[in-house]
Symmetry: C2
Subunit: 317 residues, 2 copies
């Protein structure tokens, strides 16, 4: 399983590189989730204060909610039904135990909303930052992977992009973000129901959740599927909060919408049912032979995408 | 499911307290592992620099190995066969990427030794400490829980205790620990094979792995099983490195031997086969009606155990 380009991805690939196929494991490191032979789906997502968020940006409940939602979004990416979650939490000795309760209240709110009850966890002291690591477990009879995109497929996105990245930009600049932008960052909505709906109808050939930014995440699909993805800049659906800011839509990250590939005719067959159930769906590009990601500008000129989305080792916060 | 006494346990119980039974979940928070209805067994264990270890005590490989082994020990406690693990790793931006490779080399060494291949993970920047969180997945047809101990059972331990705690005490005092003590701390051996052997023969009525110290972990069994456990001080098997230091055997922690309860006649039936396969087994006490843990001293006098093992919020490293 290949990962996309970029320094962080290279590191992850190297760190997680396994010793080859293992018994009972259908999909190992490199996709949004690991998939066991019996359809058990697993993923883990680490949230650390001053790396993934600053405390001034979020309430304690938001910190817990967001950590859980972001991890659940990996289950959505694979079209898995949530079964439950395990949560590791670390807070400093100086802090009131109420901080842990508030964070866990947010975790449990997301857990209840998405049907992923708390199965267990670990609580320890942190030498400083709040640390929340959420491992999610799900089931998928037909998991959708990153690796199934085929030339001729179109590329689809389940919602408008850039609002959460707009909030982060505002936070860093010291400007209070608009309410919708703040909410997009603090309360991401994993697209569990949407993914299940699509997978039940056999729509997606490949799928990912948008955590790094549309272009960077499309690069993951392109690499895993051994194809090229062309995104049309005029078709990238920008949230009202990100109007005119194509960079936020392409590279902002933290959207947690689904991006999937599927032929036009398949999507067309289900489009009105989808719109009745969920509303928005955007066609943002095409899958072609080749590799990597290109952006087609408003004049029809193609630009190779060199970025790699958000890199925790290069970027801020 | 009840947990034992003590501040940390109270916090964990409150944090993890769930909203009641969930579909598909056989055992929720409070045991060593969560158990799903299909026999999938899950646990998670967070290791943080300057909380669980200091960098001067361990090589980078040891840090990874120990984090993985400690989490695998939870699978042993439930008599589960390892299926795989997910690892979240955070290292600071200032550190060489080689640090992550070395830590993951240790993780992979433990993963290979115990048949728990790396299924996936997350890599992020840390604002300071090394953070390694390991979620383990296993299978158990007949998981052994903390809650099955019955009055009349005896209490058994699979190896000698106190060596790892001796090493920690020496490290803190600035004294280089003896080689065996250092190895007990840096390379704990999860008793996966021993647990499987015992469970296959239906020996244990309840089981736990010794992470907090014999007395504190016995208190978990006592609370979950609604019984009293009496430990005989003269029968606590102390490692050569901990000779004369009963406190290290009772409350030192980090032993990762199994402690289980079972009637004498059942253990007696299998004892010579056990000795042939694994060597050591120690009878350390008895299960009686009541609650809590008591220590019987060399004069036959009982002392209620008030401690609660290692509390990350109270103790050092």
């Amino acid at each position: 399983m290949k990962l996309g380009p970029g320094r962080e991805f290279d590191r992850i690939r190297r760190f997680l590189d396994s010793v080859g196929p293992a018994p009972g494991v259908a999909v190992g490191p490199g996709d949004d989730c690991a998939v066991l032979a019996d359809g058990t789906v697993l993923s883990i997502d680490l949230s650390i204060e001053d790396v993934h968020f600053r405390r001034s940006w979020l309430t304690l409940e938001d910190i817990g909610y967001r950590a859980a939602a972001v991890s659940l979004s990996d289950l959505a990416a694979c079209a898995a039904d949530p079964v439950g979650m395990l949560v590791s939490l670390a807070i400093s000795r100086e802090e009131n135990a109420g901080i842990g309760d508030a964070i866990m209240a947010g975790v449990k709110e997301a857990a209840a909303l998405y049907g992923a009850p708390l199965l267990g966890g670990d609580l320890t002291r942190s030498p400083g930052p709040i640390i929340v690591d959420v491992a999610v477990v799900g089931r998928a009879q037909r998991p959708v992977l990153r690796s199934g995109a085929r030339p001729g497929d179109a590329v689809w996105v389940t919602g408008r992009l850039g609002a959460a990245a707009r909030a982060v930009r505002d936070y860093i600049a010291g400007t209070p973000p608009a309410r919708d932008a703040a909410r997009a960052f603090t309360r991401p909505a994993p697209r569990i129901a949407q993914a299940r709906w699509l997978a039940e109808r056999g729509v997606p050939t490949a799928m990912i959740d948008l955590s790094d930014g549309l272009a960077g995440d499309a690069a993951h699909i392109a690499a895993a599927s051994d194809v090229r993805i062309v995104l049309r800049s005029r078709d990238v659906p920008l949230h009202d909060c990100a109007r005119g800011a194509l960079d936020l839509g392409l590279a902002g990250g933290d959207d947690y919408e689904l991006c999937f590939t599927a032929p036009d005719e398949i999507v067309g067959r289900f489009l009105s049912a989808w719109r009745g159930a969920f509303g928005e769906l955007y066609r943002v590009g095409a899958v072609v032979a080749g590799s990597g990601v290109a952006i087609e500008d408003e004049h029809g000129v193609l630009h190779a995408w060199e970025g790699a989305g958000f890199d925790h080792f290069a970027g801020t916060p």
